[in-house]
Symmetry: C2
Subunit: 455 residues, 2 copies
Amino acid sequence: MQKVHNYIADNKERFIEELFELLRIPSISAQSEHKPDMVRCAEWLAAALVKAGADRAVVMPTDGNPVVYAEKIINPKAKTVLVYGHYDVMPVDPRAEWRTEPFEPVIKDGRIWGRGADDDKGQLFMHAKAFEAMCATDSLPCNVKFMLEGEEEIGSPSLYKFCEQNKKLLKADIILVSDTSMISLSTPSITCGLRGLTYMEVEVTGPNKDLHSGLFGGAVANPANVLTRLVSSLVDDCGRVTIPGFYDDVRELTDSERKAFNKAPFCLRQYKKSLEIGDVEGEQGYTTMERTGVRPSLDVNGIWGGYIEEGTKTVIPSKASAKISMRLVPNQSYKKIAKLFEKHFKAIAPKSVKVVVKDLHGGEPYVAPTDMAAYKAAEKAIVDTFGKKPLPFYSGGSIPIISGFERILGIKSLLIGFGLAEDAIHSPNESYGLEQFDKGVNTIPLFYKYFAESK
Amino acid sequence: MQKVHNYIADNKERFIEELFELLRIPSISAQSEHKPDMVRCAEWLAAALVKAGADRAVVMPTDGNPVVYAEKIINPKAKTVLVYGHYDVMPVDPRAEWRTEPFEPVIKDGRIWGRGADDDKGQLFMHAKAFEAMCATDSLPCNVKFMLEGEEEIGSPSLYKFCEQNKKLLKADIILVSDTSMISLSTPSITCGLRGLTYMEVEVTGPNKDLHSGLFGGAVANPANVLTRLVSSLVDDCGRVTIPGFYDDVRELTDSERKAFNKAPFCLRQYKKSLEIGDVEGEQGYTTMERTGVRPSLDVNGIWGGYIEEGTKTVIPSKASAKISMRLVPNQSYKKIAKLFEKHFKAIAPKSVKVVVKDLHGGEPYVAPTDMAAYKAAEKAIVDTFGKKPLPFYSGGSIPIISGFERILGIKSLLIGFGLAEDAIHSPNESYGLEQFDKGVNTIPLFYKYFAESK
């Protein structure tokens, strides 16, 4: 293992230079103008994986953005690790808030700044480089497969079918994923729960055209006013979602589970300070950790209607819209919640407007067992590099495809992420600490070693 | 008078060609990029008024867009009419909804299509051409002054000071304004009431940056959710504004006033059909005509926050905003309502967010007495051209400067507008009927005649 760590230390700067090439490709999956960047990014990764030591790497077309598949089979009888990651990134708006160019990465204060620095280019690239280090030092103990997709940020619409069609190719003992965070570098953790997601869009239409708000104001339902009424009614004064049936399948934690859950270090004062908020807000009767970890939620991700430029326009808009997503917990189901939402939203809309409700994407919640071999191997690897046993952690985030893997491929995923809250993924000024990258790339080979040794 | 009408008939086509030149100038006052267009538009108008017969026309600078002033003094002892209009227009968004280019006017189906076709370029140009016809036929019976501003659509911020500084220059017996509508061509009307306006902007800030809605959703107040809550609470289930003190100064109509008011022809079925709405919505206990004519209202004119592009982004936005305007009726006061709004909005905001409330602009309501000489003269003129006595009409719209004229200059305004609801002012596909233009330009000289003859 020392050889591997030495190789990593000797090549550290080159790794970062290569990562910068990857970060410069603006592979935003949500925006169709970036289609060519998606292909370019996939091709770049395939080439990089061959250089790193893969027997072969291919850019495999899908109905959407291509999947990069690569493999190195050292022994058909050895264990096989399937590394999953995604090369697509979030949009960069609000653009004005960035202090550096989102697609021109720079190092400052010991961190890499740029869109995708953490999520997920920085994290998947640790796997490519750990793989290279093991190949170069002839110490790869498992077969390795890579499956890197370009649609995670839009709900992996093509990857489900890709998995269905490539079950044999993707056969593996564990899926290894670094697309999550740790509590902190001094409190390492392994994610053992992910929330599910139902992401909807609603459009409220009032009059058939924009109207003068003087001539019509007070007599015609304003779709922007109505939208605020409908949306605000979706969460009650106690912070509970009002959609009938929403909580029906939610698994309530037992008292002892709650106690264990709240043992993870958390400082409310520090949390509020870091976000500069006067108070937290959420479902009554639950702690902040519980609210993000094991309770469902409903958020407006975007809202728009009427005149939103400089100055004033006295208009009753014809339409107003919102993007609304709900985070789900075991045992809620994405499609069931989408249907409940649609039914409820249509039911509460007054006769004075028409509403259209669209299901944009979603995914099921996921729970990773802490007693599986891969989890134990990851625990040992982290003890080696962090000097501390990692805590099991329930993330509020969602990686919808993870539960899809289990359903389609019958393979569990291990969520060993090296992100931190301060990385500001999905936000302006995303970053990834050089120390996080270094810790990650050194931890991964240890995981392979312990996993290969496990029964 | 026959000479005047003949002149108009003979020059009709040229009038429209000239109006097209004016409509081609994109003089949008709300958008600072159009500053040069404002000056160009003012200069074009000054030149046009001199050609029409003015002794002099000047482009007078203000702190904002210039005012075009022109005059023709036939006799210091004769009555003086001050024509007010505005050469600025509304923004054109939503741009995609326009069926023709907003600043490339065309004639189709007997109507002029383009931004400003009615509001107010089309209407003010009727005055310029009626003036030309009277000058050319040597039949001008009054002194005439023109005051054409470029900031009406943003609340005339500079015109108040301009009036203060030019009281002597603007001395007149009546201010003549065509910036309103009639009930219909078969039910002509004169506007005798205008609502006031208070136009606010609110910004709700939650966390100090956009957050991942998975990692934080459910635990942190989402400013877009909070905004919908705050805004929706401003109007109750009975359609009444909930701001404390909002109705304190509202003059309630007597039963007989209400009866008279509701005599104007109005067909609810046709109203709903033309707007393609399933139902109207407004303050309980009032008719649609009352809701726009004599009752105050509160409308969201714009709302925005979070991700509003194509696709999905799982974000809790740091900020969300809305533009909210209230229409006021006698005896509400713009500034008082702005203060009540600000106080209330701040009071209802939870500790989990910060709010900023801005007063963007506003104006007082206005009532024109139906027994003044100018009103009687206008009535007679309309009987001549429309063959019917016009009804007094309470418009839901606002022209904030009108009450300013009365306060600063001590001059009443006569609101003789030839617009129609179908002109879709402030909306995409604004238009103005050729018949409306023709009726207007022929009515105006009759007004001058009867007004000059009045005691």
